[in-house]
């Protein structure tokens, strides 16, 4: 029995350590976003000596300049108009990620249906090509991608980023949907065909409803990848009308007029959607789809 107790102790200690390592940084960033700038830069550190404030968040969303801004000396809060781009670019990131998700769902499920159900010359070769395309290092593609987008006249548009993000996510979507579609019993489809459905109706009424979990998975993964992407956002978008939030944050961090607490507030605003997404991904995708499917 002593062995079992020791095991419990080890389990709980390591659980706490793992939690501190993965989640601790967020706690730090969040605390630094709600304490005044002066509390952050004093030595020895006195983070909790000056109370808490949501002034930075209010500034990001309304433009009301924080009170600490008026303080004299180096400890005053520095603000920059650049932080006001956050709500707009957050919306941009959502539009791009949502567009990428739709392209993945429509084109991805079409292709996956073909690869899982139909026999045609070139099937294996094209599938292999799609999978391998993703393994070329991104930074090697930056210049040619820029030239393609420039030739198409699509610089600084949502379309260009949706297109590029779709190229980056479709191989993965097609892979998981193909594997999943293949697992659906074909009797069900034959039954639908006997009942007078054509192949397209059968696809809509049998395959799509049955593969809902994998479609949700593909949708979330493509959304997440697009939301996180930074390199092409930086290259393609030059104005706030299309810039994704990751690009704005990186330029905020190099802006000497942005205080530590304002930067940390901006980080929190930008990652809240990611954190919600992580919980949804875990709950609906990994728990049910990956772990569940293997157990069942």
């Amino acid at each position: 029995m002593g062995g079992e107790n020791w095991k419990r102790v080890i389990v709980y200690i390591s659980a706490v350590l793992v939690f501190l390592f993965t989640f601790g940084p967020f706690v730090g960033v969040f605390l630094a976003s709600i304490v005044p700038e002066t509390a952050l830069i004093t030595r020895p550190p006195a983070w909790f000596s000056k109370g808490f404030t949501l002034a930075n968040y209010r500034y990001i969303f309304t433009g009301d300049i924080p009170k600490g801004f008026a303080t004299k000396g180096t400890a005053r809060s520095r603000v920059s108009q650049e932080a006001l781009q956050i709500p707009r670019t957050l919306a941009n990131s959502f539009i791009i990620a949502f567009g990428t998700m739709l392209v993945n769902l429509i084109f991805g499920s079409m292709a996956a249906f073909a690869y899982s159900r139909l026999r045609f010359p070139g099937r294996g070769e094209t599938f292999m090509f799609i999978l391998l395309s993703r393994l070329i290092p991104l930074v090697a593609l930056a210049v040619p991608y820029y030239l393609i987008i420039q030739t198409l006249g699509l610089l600084d548009t949502f379309w260009s980023l949706i297109m590029i993000h779709s190229v980056l996510t479709l191989p993965f979507t097609i892979l998981i949907l193909t594997v999943y579609f293949r697992g659906i019993p074909e009797d069900l489809e034959d039954q639908a065909l006997v009942d007078g459905c054509n192949q397209f109706q059968m696809f809509l009424r049998v395959i799509i409803p049955l593969s809902l979990p994998s479609l949700v998975a593909a949708a979330l993964f493509s959304f997440m990848l697009s939301y996180s992407e930074f390199l092409f956002g930086l290259l393609i978008s030059s104005t706030t009308s299309t810039k994704p939030i990751s690009v704005v944050l990186s330029s905020l961090s190099n802006n000497p007029d942005v205080s530590i607490s304002l930067l940390n507030s901006s980080i929190i605003v930008a990652i809240i959607p990611s954190i919600i997404l992580a919980i949804v991904v875990w709950r609906f995708v990994i728990q049910d789809l990956i772990l569940g499917a293997l157990k069942g």
Partner: protein, 296 residues
């Protein structure tokens, strides 16, 4: 098998949108990059003369190439084994039943969905030498009396960058390992217990054989990722101090976009793509065959 297909035209129509998009954004960039690497492309100088392998030789012989390749290999050498071992240990923890598991499981996933540019910003602040959270915490706990200039000393900067990289990279291997471990039938462990096996024995003879393939995939995938990613070190240290944290992939970016030497940038990209190809073939060899399409 489903054979009532009218020719192959339906299949081609279904795969066309996805395939065409990926084809355009793979073949053209590939060809373009290759062409660029054999020419001198400089916006200041007229014409794009063919220069043979001179871009390649000048990249190979540059001080920065040797230095950044060495940094990248050191980074791989430290982080990949640590990520692999930690992912096995944490997955082992997450299949235990303990109070709070429902919180810890999604929590370990969160770093994965944080855009890497933002991951760099978070860790840049945490490790900041004059007002970072880690210095504040350590001095508060009495561990250090003077603040440590983490990001401006060679060894500590390398350390800080590796910590951030491990933090960001851990979730995906954990999911893979967790999936592999969940698939192990639990009666194997029960039988081992009856036979009086120790915890170490059951890991060595039951768990390990089942996760070995996944461990190989994790090692190769992480090596490839570490080889081609640079956004975290770039956001944290800008490659410094000196060249202490400069990564090989960032060198492509800097050659192409800072120095406008597109030919050399493309040559380096081709070198990196060639090296990645070796990893890619290793991945294909290691991936369980059922993931690839079986041809009958």
């Amino acid at each position: 098998m489903f054979k009532k297909v009218r020719g192959s035209s339906l299949a081609y129509i279904l795969i066309l949108p996805a395939f065409a998009l990926i084809l355009i954004f793979t073949l053209y960039p590939f060809g373009r990059a290759l062409w660029t690497s054999f020419h001198r492309i400089n916006p200041v100088l007229p014409g794009n003369p063919f220069v043979g392998f001179s871009n390649y030789t000048s990249v190979f012989s540059s001080y920065y190439f040797v230095k950044s390749l060495r940094n990248t290999l050191i980074m791989i050498g430290f982080t990949v084994p640590i990520i692999t071992i930690m992912s096995i240990a944490i997955s082992r923890l997450l299949i235990e039943n303990f109070y709070g598991r429902g919180i810890l499981r999604p929590a370990v996933l969160i770093p994965w969905v944080i855009p890497s540019a933002i991951t760099g910003l978070i860790w840049q602040w945490l490790f900041n030498g004059s007002y970072g959270a880690i210095n504040a915490l350590l001095s508060r706990m009495g561990v250090i009396s003077d603040y440590i200039p983490w990001l401006t000393e060679v060894l500590t900067a390398k350390f800080a960058v590796m910590v951030a990289f491990i933090w960001a990279q851990l979730p995906f291997p954990i999911i893979l390992m967790l999936a592999a471990m969940t698939a192990i039938p639990s009666d194997l462990y029960d039988a081992a217990k009856v036979d009086g096996a120790t915890a170490f024995d059951s890991f060595r003879y039951i768990t390990w054989p089942h996760i070995r393939t996944m461990a190989v995939i994790v090692i190769i995938y992480e090596t490839l990722t570490a080889f081609t990613s640079y956004s975290i070190p770039y956001a944290m240290t800008g490659g410094g101090p000196g060249t202490a944290t400069s990564m090989i992939s960032y060198y492509i970016w800097s050659l192409s976009f800072d120095q406008l030497q597109f030919g050399k940038g493309a040559a380096l990209a081709a070198i990196i793509a060639g090296l990645s190809l070796i990893f890619i073939f290793a991945i294909i060899k290691a991936i369980p065959s059922e993931i690839m399409l079986e041809e009958e």
